[in-house]
């Protein structure tokens, strides 16, 4: 019984020592902010070549003079206007204030003009007021196909309008071709669609790719009045491979392993000196052993 009590008290004391911050509670009582903030919702749609639509919102509010991104807010996405409105889904903004939703092809319903009506709304929470934003775009699609002629690499991009139910090519529209990179996309070139809605854009053949040399090529129509944003992507092994093997740093002055000659020099120097010390210690031990038995 006594032993158990001993263990408990010592554990409690040890716990107190090990985790100081956790046991001693910090209570702060400060005045509650009474101001309310009205958020700004940036809302874009991206129609992809797999017929789905990406919806992206970024929620910010001006707090104390700075535009701050708001996390943890519930954004509701709906498609359709008024009576035909259908809820698509709910997403909570992440720590960058961004909420993204992918609308599947079967969820897309166009109105009479062949337009998609999207709405992103926020119901309001605590000190943040409610807000909503709408995006209206015509249904369209970009198609991208790789084209290789001898050593010349290119992509053929076609822009079609889907608002009428049948695919209609769209001409005289400038769009760009990009290669997907770590943080963004690098523009490779642009072209204007001809009467059949097509344009061929060259791709340089010395672009760095991933470990296998794959490139993700994107065709993009940005911020078009009618269609909003359209995107098409294709993966081709047209890049030079860049190894993603875990590399060990070489022996160098600035790495964690010293050059061999340095190691050798140290070992030689240290063993020489300490070897001398050892010899001397041995000499002293011998001296002690040689103490004459008789006390003079």
């Amino acid at each position: 019984m006594r032993k158990i009590f001993q263990i408990l008290t010592t554990s409690f004391l040890a716990l107190l020592i090990i985790s100081p911050g956790k046991v001693i509670a910090q209570t702060d009582s400060t005045k509650k902010e009474t101001a309310t903030y009205s958020p700004l919702i940036e809302f874009v749609s991206i129609q992809k070549n797999d017929n789905s639509v990406d919806l992206k919102t970024s929620v910010k509010a001006k707090i104390n003079g700075t535009l701050t991104r708001l996390a943890d807010l519930k954004i509701e996405f709906t498609i359709g206007r008024d009576s035909t409105a259908k809820k698509l889904g709910e997403v909570i903004t992440d720590n960058k204030g961004v909420a993204a939703f992918n609308c599947k092809p079967d969820q897309l319903t166009t109105d009479k003009e062949g337009k998609l009506n999207f709405k992103a709304s926020f119901a309001g929470k605590d000190s943040i007021e409610s807000a909503e934003e709408i995006v209206v775009v015509k249904r369209g699609r970009l198609e991208i196909a790789p084209v290789k002629e001898d050593s010349l690499l290119a992509v053929k991009v076609k822009l079609v309008d889907l608002s009428t139910g049948t695919e209609m090519p769209v001409d005289s529209t400038t769009l760009g071709v990009y290669v997907k990179r770590l943080f963004s996309a690098l523009k490779l070139g642009e072209g204007t669609t001809n009467a059949s809605g097509e344009t061929t854009i060259e791709i340089p053949n010395d672009l760095p790719g991933d470990a296998k040399g794959n490139l993700t090529l994107l065709a993009r129509l940005d911020e078009n009045e009618t269609y909003g944003n359209l995107e098409a992507s294709v993966v081709q092994q047209w890049g030079t491979p860049v190894s993603d093997e875990v590399k060990e740093l070489p022996r160098a002055l600035w790495s964690s392993h010293p050059p061999i000659w340095m190691l050798v020099t140290f070992v030689v120097l240290m063993s020489t000196v300490w070897g001398h010390y050892l010899v001397i210690i041995i000499q002293l031990f011998r001296l002690r052993k040689e103490e004459p038995k008789t006390v003079s």
Binding site: L253, W254, S256, P258, P259, M262, L263, F266, L269, M270, T272, V273, W274, H276, Y277, V279, I280, I281, Q283, L284, R286, L287, R288, K289, E290, E291, P292, S296
Partner: protein, 449 residues
């Protein structure tokens, strides 16, 4: 143990010193302890509040502590030179002073690294130096070199003490029992047999040979802590030999000062004679000239080349609104003064030479400060900070208190050591003469043969 007449005389003269722990000694001990206690309080503040209590900031990251470290390791070269070089050259007059020299070495090599520890931000993580060492770092070289050097100097000091311990053991001194036991243990059964004598002789020769290259390496490694960086005033190729020479020079100065103090305190005029001061004075002159040559070469080169970064530092050192007066003092008192005092026969006397050494040692401390701080105050990128303490370094009372505590520790060690062993080594005297008298008779008067 059998002693000859010289040894007997030397022992009788010094015997009272190691037997009595008189009032004067107590006073000095307490005086030094007070400074050490003040330093202890300063250290407590530094550990509790962090290094913000010092004057060091993001630009001048090294200040008084590192200057003290370099200074103390520098003066530790007294032993390397005097004991080492003079031993190999078998110079007879070295014998009375080798113990003082070796003591300076050992004590300074203890105190110096303590200042590095004071400068390190995380006292509690020092074991990382042993667990996770990086061989490419000059600090690792420093750790290895200084611990090797310290071990070597302790061995060297001890080797020279064995014979004396045997004498103390046999003399039936009026000292507490624990001290008798210590003497007996440290004498490791030395009885003066020829074979034992040979063991000591071999050991001392080996030690003398190894300690000289070791000393050169140690201070070179120390200088490379500065020399291997890319800062103006530090990135100099002559830093290795420059620091070694400065170290031997300052070591000689401290040795002369110690000799003078002990001579007066314990009335050792028969043993530490005028000629010792004069010979060491000559050594000091030669070393001073060499040190002056290196100094001149260093600053002439920087000034003549007039590279932008070097010129910033040179300007700080030459301008009287900045460090100009200190620079002048460091060079006049550090180089010219000792040279002139020794050069002229009128001033070639123990008192003058000791005074010159005092100024020289102080000047060399200032020189270490001038190596460290002006360079750190002249970084390659403009500082552009409105906080004055980030632009100019001014040491706080914490740093001064710890500096004085270090010096007090140095003196305290010496005071206590002089009560434990005789300052003048007994056994070294008149080896040639045969030992006739038994040591057991206290206070026996023997007329030298």
């Amino acid at each position: 143990m059998l002693l000859n007449s010289f040894q007997q005389q030397a022992f009788d003269h010094q015997r009272p010193v190691i037997e009595k722990f008189g009032r004067k000694t107590w006073m000095w001990t307490i005086f030094f302890l007070l400074w050490i206690i003040l330093g202890g309080y300063a250290l407590y503040l530094q550990i509790a509040d962090g290094h913000i209590v010092t004057g060091m900031r993001d630009n001048v990251v090294w200040g008084l502590y590192i200057a003290n470290f370099i200074f103390f390791i520098g003066i530790s070269y007294a032993g390397a030179v005097i004991s080492g070089i003079l031993h190999i050259l078998n110079v007879e007059w070295r014998k009375p002073i080798i113990r003082i020299a070796e003591m300076i070495t050992v004590i300074a090599t203890i105190i110096g690294p303590v200042f590095i520890l004071l400068c390190v931000g995380r006292f509690d993580r020092l074991h990382h130096l042993i667990l996770y060492p990086r061989l490419q770092s000059p600090i690792t070289w420093d750790v290895l070199a200084i611990s090797t050097y310290f071990t070597g100097s302790v061995i060297f000091l001890y080797l020279a003490l064995i014979k004396d311990f045997a004498i103390y053991r046999d003399a039936k001194l009026k000292v507490p029992k624990w001290r008798q036991k210590v003497y007996k243990a440290l004498a490791i059964g030395y009885r003066g047999t020829p074979s034992q004598k040979r063991h000591i002789k071999i050991s001392m020769n080996l030690m003398a040979i190894i300690i000289i290259p070791l000393a050169i390496i140690v201070h070179s490694v120390l200088s490379w802590i500065f020399g291997m960086t890319l800062r103006p005033g530090w990135h100099s190729t002559i830093f290795g030999p420059y620091f070694v020479l400065a170290a031997i020079y300052s070591g000689t100065g401290v040795l002369i000062m110690a000799m003078w103090v002990y001579r007066r305190m314990y009335k050792l005029y028969d043993y530490i004679q005028d000629k010792h001061f004069i010979y060491l004075g000559y050594i000091m002159l030669v070393l001073g000239a060499g040190y002056g040559y290196f100094t001149f070469s260093e600053y002439l080169t920087d000034w003549f080349g007039s590279e932008k970064w070097d010129s910033d530092v040179i300007h700080k050192l030459f301008s009287f609104s900045e460090y100009g007066w200190w620079f002048l003092f460091a060079n006049v008192a550090g180089i010219l003064l000792p040279i002139f005092i020794v050069a002229f026969p009128k001033t070639r006397k123990p008192g003058w030479i000791a005074l010159a050494s005092l100024f020289m040692v102080a000047a060399l401390w200032v020189k270490r400060y001038l190596i460290i701080v002006p360079t750190l105050e002249s970084p390659l990128l403009p500082i552009q900070d409105t906080r004055l303490e980030y632009v100019k370094y001014s040491p706080t009372w914490v740093e001064w208190a710890l500096t004085l505590a270090g010096i007090a520790t140095f003196f305290l060690f010496f005071t206590l050591m002089s009560k434990f062993v005789t300052i003048i080594p007994i056994s070294e005297f008149g080896d040639k003469e045969k030992a006739t008298e038994k040591i057991t008779k206290p206070g026996s008067e023997v007329v030298p043969a």
